[in-house]
Amino acid sequence: MRFPTLASPHIAPNNDVSRLMKQVLLALIPGTLAAIYFFGWGVLLNILLTVAAGLLTEAVMLALRHRPLKPFLSDGSVLVTAWLLAVCLPPLAPWWLPVVGISFALVFAKHLYGGLGYNLFNPAMVGYAVLLVSFPKEMTQWGLPQGVAAQALGFVDSAMYVFSGHLPAGVAWDGLSGATPLNVYKTDLGQGAAWSSIQQHSVFSSLGGVGWEWVALGWLLGGVWMLWQRVITWRIPVSMLLSFTLLTLAFYLYDPTHFASPLFHLLSGGAMLGAFFIATDPVSSATTARGQLIYGAGIGVLVFVIRGFAGFPDGVAFAVLLMNIAAPLIDHYTPARPFGRKKHE
């Protein structure tokens, strides 16, 4: 009797890319729900817009590159990229902002590098960075969190505003939007205010910023779940958060009037999202065990430096992109040390 000869192993696969991506999406839910609760329907609209535009862009690029549509559209990678970009964007941003961001991310940061698995940079962060540099005004119009904002918009009103720019009668934009805690921190500190007085601002709370702290804790929850499910490994998030915490702590202890506490830093901006969902993007991060420790620690240092001493209030996107550049080099200098081999053999 004759049989087909296929390659080993002869067991059914127990994992696939789309399952991994679905797990990441599941892990994004707690943080996203917190974001919608505190910052309104605009967050959901951002997600819907990036996902729709992302799938469309992906399909067009796959068709242009003569790649099969079904396996690549259903692998879930576009959903993850789109979702990650969406939650970094200001809620109630005009509709074209998420659309431009995700399209640029997928065309330039993903497909021009060769598609899934070949991108040098994290596509979501490229999209974010391009929007931040090109449309600084739109990108810094953050909604005020629930409890601080004077008014709130329903879903339909939010959609109206996103697509037409018109607010319902009696609602003022100023009542909806304001500076983020990191923005306030940056500007006030620049004007010579002390950390203790900055904290009196209405967007601050005992842990971080109002709403922001819960969103950050949501990302943390999802991240820990991914660790438990072994979707990600501990090295990058732990090394990033550790280097970031140690630096902020050192400076806070050295000069508590001009440097915010590590807790504030950890629970505001993109620190948690970055540590668990963005820095851990396997394609663009370092891949060796020792390399991942260096890579994560590097991001932590850069986030601190950018937040503390550069022009932008938050630095996660730029820190990740900078370390993306370094990842191949880090991998080269941290090769595998095979079983039983001594350090310098």
């Binding site: 009797m1 004759r2 049989f3 087909p4 000869t5 296929l6 390659a7 080993s8 192993p9 002869h10 067991i11 059914a12 696969p13 127990n14 994992n15 696939d16 890319v17 399952r19 991994l20 396996p71 690549f72 692998d75 990678s77 598609g115 899934l116 698995g117 070949y118 072994r230 490994t233 396997p282 394609v283 991060s285 891949t287 060796t288 065990a289 991998d331 080269h332 090769p335 595998a336 040390r337 095979p338 079983f339 039983g340 081999r341 001594k342 053999e345």
Partner: protein, 534 residues
């Protein structure tokens, strides 16, 4: 006995075990088929050389082929019968290779000859003689590696062996032949261990068995108690694939990590599969060569899975008929286990010393290769790799054709091809295939490089030789010319007195010096070029 501290090797994998399909029933003796196809190469090393002729009648245990060199093994007849042919036949090989086989037609009489003198008191026999017996009995590693056991027993000169390791891990899913051997022939296994300890002068014998085989562990412990030999230690180790890889097993049992470059004997260990130990026992104590082995026939594509004690050379198709034949939806035949085994194109291949299992899978359990997605460098493969490699990096090297980087930077040759990386890859990339391909490419290049450098050497040597011949000829001519000149110079002396003696003497001396110099020069060049080629 104090509890041994066990160590965890890096990575590893927990595949579905599927042991129960085959391990419940005792070993059955396979009925002798109408024909045995006995390959001349069933081991690592040189192909054995046939010592019987077509048409000759042979007896059971008679030697059919002799070992060709140090790393080789003889082959013996599993039963009496006629040698029908010595010809090429399909053998179990990943590429569907054909190889020389002795076709034996059993005559049903099963007449035997006593191949060797039984040595029940092996403790009295010199280790050297025992090693020779293991060689003459054709014993090779029965765990699947089929390395000639006698070569292993020679150890590493200058290093004493302190521990004999009997490997009963049997970590591949589905396979249970070692399990059954340990359960039913525990004493043979341990007596084999005693012989091994005696041969290498070891004072300890560790038997490592995965804890999914409690009956085997109990049987071995009972046998050790019966033998009243305190040198044995039967250790239940955690069930993690691939704990049966020798160096990983040593790590589990002792915490030592032995790198690829180091042989285990250099660290004082001698490892042998449990079935090999039992075969050594039979060769020494009963004087029987290796002509049979226990093989697992299992999988969802078979009607009656189990273990069979079968003669070497029995075709898989005959074995499968004894296991009740195929299920209607049979889809794949695998030689070995599902992780490290390879798919066979045909069941008309013989049972060899390496054959621990024929795995027959029905369609639902035989996954068709799914479309590989791009590598997303998720690192699942590196997490699972028991020898701490970065398969995702090696994949990039292999795909880019950067074999030098694969070898030097990413340590490709450390890969033991356990198959975990392929099994856990979410993108379904056949990583091990890439690594086998890369290794083969590197070997191929090395061979070509060697060939071309041999050719270059030959070409250069030819040039040198031509040059040397030319110089020798010139030197000879010069000498002759000098002689002629000297004669000519001598003749005119009588005729003309114009040339004075002094001038003649100078000319003579110059000619002589020139000849000597040229001869010397030629010799020197020849010598130095010879030296360059040594």
């Amino acid at each position: 006995m104090s509890e041994r501290i066990l160590y965890r090797f890096p990575g590893g994998f927990h595949p579905e075990q599927h042991k129960n399909e085959s391990n419940a029933k005792p070993i059955r003796r396979a009925a002798m088929p109408a024909q045995l196809v006995i390959p001349l190469k069933q081991h690592i090393g040189a192909t054995a050389e046939a010592v019987v002729n077509v048409g000759e009648r042979v007896l059971r245990n008679q030697r059919l082929a002799k070992a060709d060199g140090y790393v080789s093994a003889p082959i013996h007849a599993p039963t009496s019968g006629l040698v029908r042919a010595i010809e090429e036949h399909d053998v179990p090989h990943p590429s569907g290779l054909r190889a020389a086989c002795i076709v034996l037609e059993p005559d049903g009489l099963d007449e035997a000859l006593q191949a060797f003198e039984p040595w029940p008191d092996f403790g009295e026999i010199a280790p050297l003689l025992l090693r020779e017996r293991v060689r003459e009995a054709g014993i090779v590693g029965l765990g699947g590696a089929v390395f000639p056991s006698a070569v292993k027993l020679a150890g590493t000169p200058g290093t004493a062996i302190h521990t004999v390791l009997l490997n009963g891990a049997e970590c591949e899913p589905y396979i249970s032949c070692d399990d059954r051997v340990m359960r039913e022939r525990a004493e043979e296994v341990l007596r084999g261990g005693q012989i091994l300890m005696h041969v290498v002068g070891a004072g300890k014998c560790l038997v490592g068995v995965e804890d999914n085989k409690p009956e085997a562990i109990a049987a071995l412990r009972a046998a050790a108690l019966k033998l009243a030999d305190p040198r044995f230690e039967i250790v239940a180790i955690p069930t993690i694939y691939p704990s049966g890889a020798e160096k990983l097993l040593i790590h589990v049992l002792t915490g030592q990590k032995i790198s690829r470059e180091t042989r285990v004997t250099e660290r004082g260990f001698l490892g042998n599969n449990v079935a090999t130990a039992a075969a050594i026992y039979r060769a020494v104590v009963l004087g029987e060569p290796l002509t049979r082995r226990v093989v697992t026939l299992t999988g969802s594509g078979l009607n009656a899975p189990g273990n069979w004690d079968a003669p070497l050379g029995m075709l898989a198709s005959d074995l499968i008929a004894q296991a009740g034949g195929y299920q209607p939806d049979v889809a794949r035949l695998v030689f070995g286990g599902p992780m490290g085994g390879f798919a066979l194109a045909s069941d008309e291949v013989p049972l060899t010393k390496a054959a621990n299992c024929f795995l027959v899978l029905a369609a639902p359990d035989a996954p068709v290769e799914p479309l590989p997605m791009p590598c997303i460098r998720c690192g699942k493969c590196a997490e699972g790799c028991p020898v701490e490699l970065q398969p995702q990096q090696m994949l990039w090297d292999a795909r880019a054709g950067d074999f030098e980087r694969a070898e030097k930077q990413d340590s490709l040759f450390e890969c033991i091809e356990c198959g975990i990386c392929s099994a856990v890859c979410p993108s379904h990339i056949p990583l091990v295939q890439y690594f086998r391909y890369a290794k083969t490419e590197i070997w191929q290049r090395e061979r070509e490089h060697e060939k071309s450098s041999v050719a270059r050497d030959r070409f250069e040597f030819r040039n040198t030789r031509i040059e040397r011949d030319k110089q020798e000829r010139e030197a000879m001519l010069a000498q002759k010319r000098a002689q002629l000149a000297a004669q000519k110079a001598a003749e005119p002396v009588a005729a003309e007195a114009a040339v004075d003696d002094k001038q003649r003497a100078i000319l003579d001396a110059m000619a002589r010096a020139k000849a000597r110099k040229e001869a010397l020069q030629a010799e020197k060049t020849a010598a130095s070029e010879d030296a360059a080629h040594e």
